[in-house]
Subunit: 353 residues, 2 copies
DNA sequence: ATCAAGCGATAAATCGATTTTTCGCTGTTG
DNA sequence: CAACAGCGAAAAATCGATTTATCGCTTGAT
């Protein structure tokens, strides 16, 4: 029986108390840094902790405390770079403040989103960072409101009357994209979007259109919106091109739309930027290594995460005041997928093979 | 004071007991489906639960139980599709069995990996799914062994004497890639890998080389390994090409290496598959929409996740026996980035612009 | 010398469940 | 009719911490 002890029951605070010859209350105080303990006892406690390898059980600890040191995070998916690094950041920030982050994926389902929220409420999390599937008016936000949970809404949101919201300033970014395209001579631009995120998509669209028309009133902006799934978008796009529509540039308002656009270009044998230009909202690592590199709007993930946690902890600590609605600005990276119309006559593609 | 009650203290099991006119113990039994309760009381309890909107506090519940219904998952990063969907799957499977999944990112650091594990041990998780940064012999696995934690090791592992391991059968997949390349006439192939994952990388490399030489003994297989970071790999690759080396195909053993290869091809103006062929280990959504589409080895994420959870829960439920080491087979998708050497003479590139 | 205040520490209550023990009652059995 | 199971439910212990209440002792003021 040499190294059996490691597998045995972990020492509790009472074991430490016994070993140190003090009470459990004293141990608790020492470990929390309360100053009314005699230095001698402090030392004895630390020694006992060291000796036994004691570590606080956060579960038991949180049970008694007023606030549980757990933060929940809910995102529509884990598979994308955007939400992946969002979770990474949030985890880092929560940890920094001594909180555990519990992340969950709503898998793009509002029903599931609400269920997860209910489960987090069961866990009595101190706060939630919610990136809603659709927008700030979904059942999940309603649930949070109803039960007085504290939280912050991010990404697919604009403003809310109950929670702080935070997202990329996709409006300004879209206007900048419009400027870049119009200045390069594009006068017929197709915009791809997802309809279910009504408000945010409308904001991007309106900013884009406004700036485009302001710079060149004769610009034609076509729009294809798919309600929630991406496949309808694909077929709509296919039909659009089949009808003979020939925009000189495409601006996709979301990552998966960019992929759909690329794959439709493939089908028709079109190459960027000679046959058509492409800009996508949301950047990805691979976009800079393909040929051509894909122009994209880079979202300020880090800033959103930092600011979201900052706001959340202020509310957790009881700060009042009306909810704020912040936008963090994006960076627009014009890469090779964008050119000037006419440089490659937009005829039938597929000559290159 | 109309809808104030929602924000108030949540009802506890005692509130339910009072409301139903029974004891807390009875409520607990009813909620767990113990059959020794009179039907009448069962009904009263359910009514009270309904009336008060009671839900069990999992924290308090787990504190008393023998096993806490929490599973930990540790992956090197959240940003990639592979680990993103791995977490999605694991979450789904844990949920299915009534467990909560707590996911954490080691951010490619072994030190952090161990810290996270210690924290999970503090939480007394029932089990851990660990995707180690390096391999099965790191400090994290040592920690798990030392403290008798139950867990499963996945992805960058081959076999272990203490834990079940599970990974993609990258050896067979690599052999298949070798076959595909050699059969297309490639006789000079460069392999890119990460050295720190010693055993798994060696396995892939050896299978590849073996099959290549078996099919065509005159095949030349060059190897560039970078220890742990990706930037050294980039410069090593640059030097390699600068020296005048002209392999007709590149096989990257990991996703980021594929990106590095693509970006170096860009720099030199080389196009796949005319100037050089490329196959990457690990598939990604974008690889099928780019032009050319990138050939890749698809890992069986879903199967790995399912099998990992299956094994883990068997161990949690006390099943003994020696640790198993399973490999799940991959699919190799040959896409346009692979061609035959000579179809585009491998001279200085950049003619296309 | 008496009482109040202050200090440091312990005992006890608490968090919200589960699990074990105890208890009262009914129906059998010797 | 006393003793004994068996049943269903309540009471109490438990999990492992934190927090509150209490206590003994010293010090200072009256």
């Amino acid at each position: 029986m040499v190294h059996r002890e490691a597998h045995a029951r972990r020492p509790s605070i009472h074991d430490v108390a016994n070993s140190a010859g003090v009470s459990a209350a004293t141990v608790s105080k020492v470990l929390q840094g309360v100053s009314t303990v005699k230095p001698e006892n402090v030392q004895r406690v630390f020694d006992a902790v060291e000796l036994l390898g004691y570590r606080i059980d956060p579960l038991a600890s949180d049970l008694r405390r007023a606030k549980r040191r757990i933060i929940g995070a809910i995102v529509p998916e884990f598979e994308s770079e955007f939400f992946g690094s969002m979770i990474t950041q949030l985890e880092r920030l929560a940890e920094q403040r001594g909180y555990a982050l519990v992340a969950a994926s709503s898998r793009e389902s509002e029903a599931r989103e609400k269920e997860i929220l209910a489960r987090m409420h069961d866990w009595r999390v101190s706060g939630v960072v919610l990136a809603p599937v659709r927008n700030e008016h979904g059942p999940a936000a309603g649930f949070m409101k109803k039960y007085g949970m504290t939280g912050v809404l991010i990404d697919r949101v604009l403003a809310d009357d109950a929670f702080d919201t935070l997202s990329a300033d996709s409006g300004s970014a879209s206007a900048e994209v419009a400027r870049e395209l119009v200045e390069r001579g594009h006068r017929h631009i197709l915009v791809l979007g997802l309809g279910e995120q009504a408000a945010t998509v409308r904001a991007r669209l309106e900013s884009f259109r406004e700036r485009a028309l302001q710079l060149a009133p004769d610009t034609r902006v076509d729009v294809i919106l798919s309600e929630s799934d991406v496949e309808p978008l694909r077929s709509a796009l296919r039909d659009y091109f089949a009808k003979g529509e020939r925009p000189t540039a495409v601006y996709s308002l979301f990552l998966r739309g960019t992929l759909v656009a690329l794959s439709e270009f493939r089908r028709r044998g079109w190459h960027c930027p000679n046959d058509i230009s492409l800009v996508g909202f949301d950047d990805a690592e691979w976009m800079q290594v393909t040929w051509p590199a894909i122009a994209a709007v880079v979202q300020p993930v880090r800033q959103i995460a930092i600011e979201a946690m900052e706001l959340l902890f202020r509310r957790i600590e009881g700060e009042g005041g009306p909810p704020t609605a912040r936008l963090e600005s994006c960076k627009v990276l014009m890469r090779e997928s964008v050119g000037s119309p006419g440089s490659g006559p937009h005829s039938g593609g597929g000559k290159r093979r």
